[in-house]
């Protein structure tokens, strides 16, 4: 039994390393001023990548803009998704297929097409190059994820728990706080994480809607291939809020 547990521990450690370790190359590249083959480590360390990346202030402004948009999109997605997710998760719809398909269908269409399609409308409404326009554009993609993921947390089990709580005299607000949230917390955390990340990493729609006031991925892309040090440095900055979101989701969610 102990041997089997040991094998399992080794296996999970290897799996964890396989997924986490390759990203160390980004850190090395970001802090390398010179790194050529066949060297396994950079020949010269430095901060050129960060200096050149943030020269002019464009990347800093883009970082703030990306954060504002992603946080707003996350909150809006969860609020709008909750009622629909509940109905779908509890299987209260006689024919859920068409509703799920309608809500999920934006995920199935390329952001390249959606971003361009929205731009025509946003030009007429004066929403291009604005935070509001970006929020609406990203909402198209984050809302389906929020609904689909959140719906997996609702079901007959949760409903039964809520009915039991109601029969014990708990009001709607206390039921929500004491029964619903603790039960749905892991799924809610994943849904929030995904909503944030979908908005955070949007490239095609952001470029189409707000090319004049770019988000961080739009600023980052031209450096990929051309200047690996700057690309790696901006990638690290790009990763930081996403990592914080992941850690918060882990803490708020399943890992207790």
């Amino acid at each position: 039994m102990r041997g089997r547990d040991g094998t399992r521990s080794t296996l999970t450690t290897v799996v964890a390393l396989v997924f986490a370790l390759p990203f160390t190359v980004l850190v090395l590249q970001a802090f390398a001023d010179s790194w050529t083959a066949p060297a396994l480590l950079p020949q010269e360390f430095g901060l050129r990548g960060f200096r050149d990346g943030f020269a002019g202030g464009g990347a800093g402004a883009a970082l703030v803009r990306s954060l504002q948009v992603a946080l707003t999109v996350t909150v809006l997605s969860l609020v709008i998704a909750w009622p629909a997710a509940r109905v779908i998760g509890e299987r209260r719809l006689r024919h859920p297929g068409p509703v799920i398909l309608l809500l999920a269908v934006p995920v199935l269409v390329s952001p390249f097409a959606i971003g361009t399609g929205l731009t025509g409308w946003f030009v007429r409404l004066g929403l291009t190059d604005s935070i509001e326009g970006l929020v609406l554009g990203h909402l198209v993609f984050s809302l389906p994820y929020a609904v689909l993921v959140l719906s997996t947390g609702f079901g007959p089990g949760l409903r039964h728990s809520e009915e039991m709580a109601a029969s014990m005299g708990l009001g709607p607000f206390r039921r929500l706080l004491m029964v619903t949230f603790p039960e749905i917390r892991p799924t809610l955390a994943v849904a929030a994480l995904l909503s944030f990340l979908v908005s955070w990493s949007q490239y095609g729609s952001s470029l189409a809607i707000s090319g004049g006031s770019p988000t961080l991925p739009v600023v980052l892309l031209p450096f990929v291939g051309g200047d690996p040090e700057v690309a790696a440095a901006l990638s690290l900055v790009f990763l930081a809020p996403a990592m914080v979101a992941l850690a918060m989701a882990n803490r708020a969610g399943h890992f207790r």
């Binding site: 296996l11 964890a16 997924f19 609020v79 398909l101 929205l118 990493s201 992941l246 882990n250 399943h254």
Partner: protein, 268 residues
């Protein structure tokens, strides 16, 4: 209850789709409804490069999705009782944008990359290979942890209690897997796989970075026609991407049909 989400989707997605459809029918030099033409659609459907791109995207999507789903089930089962640190390590690629994963893949797997430096030489060419193995590898690396997260979210205390109850009633390991674990993980696995498949089918950053020069992926094809034809390219790109969207929707319908077909026998 459905109104907020359905209304938002209809307004934003419907408007966007109408704009994309309009673009695919608008002649290169513009004009109103009376000037609409099928020219962009004709050019795309008659282009052998588009056909090759479509099949390449379909093939890589199916392989990447099936491998990711299988691996996710295995890893989630392994990880469900592991520490938070271990789970966080596995989930690490989830918040990382595809573009960055592709860059990391190139830094490791390209000729002269870190893998070559560490191992001497790689037995397989995984960057710009004709079969698209590099593309599949990047997507498997990126999407498996996403599916693992979805599965772990439903593999909580409630499921453990149900398993314990089943064990008390004398149901063996395989019986618990079939009657307790599988019904719990089926929905997130299928929905997650649908999301993965749709994303892989329409994305273009990864095929651009590690995919072969030919055939292109569907997304790469759309990008290339836009770049190569400044006047008529946008309409062709819209037509190509809309055709890709139709294929994605058909794929999603197939998965939903499978979900329904698998659920009904259980409910009887």
């Amino acid at each position: 209850m459905l109104a907020p989400a359905v209304g938002t989707t209809l307004l934003l997605f419907g408007g966007a789709l109408a704009g994309a459809v309009e673009q695919s029918f608008t002649p290169p030099l513009g004009g109103g409804l009376e000037t609409w033409t099928l020219e962009s659609w004709r050019q795309v459907l008659g282009d052998p490069v588009f056909v090759d791109a479509f099949w390449f995207s379909l093939r890589t999507t199916l392989v990447a999705t099936l491998v990711s789903a299988g691996l996710a089930l295995l890893i989630a089962t392994l990880m469900r009782t592991r520490s938070a640190a271990m789970r966080t390590a596995v989930a690490f690629p989830v918040p990382v944008p595809h573009l960055i994963v592709a860059v990391v893949a190139v830094l490791w797997l390209a000729p002269g990359g870190l893998a070559d430096r560490v191992l001497g030489t790689l037995p397989l060419n995984l960057v710009r290979d004709q079969l698209g193995l590099g593309v599949v590898l990047v997507y498997v690396f990126k999407e498996t942890p996403f599916l693992v997260l979805l599965l772990l979210a439903v593999m909580g205390r409630r499921l453990e209690e149900q398993e314990e109850m089943a064990a008390v009633h004398g149901i063996g390991r395989w019986g618990r897997l079939r009657w307790v674990i599988w019904p719990a993980v089926r929905a997130p696995l299928l929905i997650g796989s649908m999301i993965v498949a749709a994303f892989v089918f329409s994305a273009f950053e990864v095929p651009l970075a590690v995919g072969p020069n030919y055939p292109p992926s569907l997304g790469t094809y759309a990008l290339e026609v836009t770049k190569s034809d400044a006047i008529g390219g946008a309409g062709q790109a819209a037509a190509a991407l809309l055709l890709g969207a139709v294929a994605s929707i058909a794929f999603a319908l197939a998965i939903l049909g499978l979900f329904k077909a698998r659920r009904e026998p259980d409910e009887r």
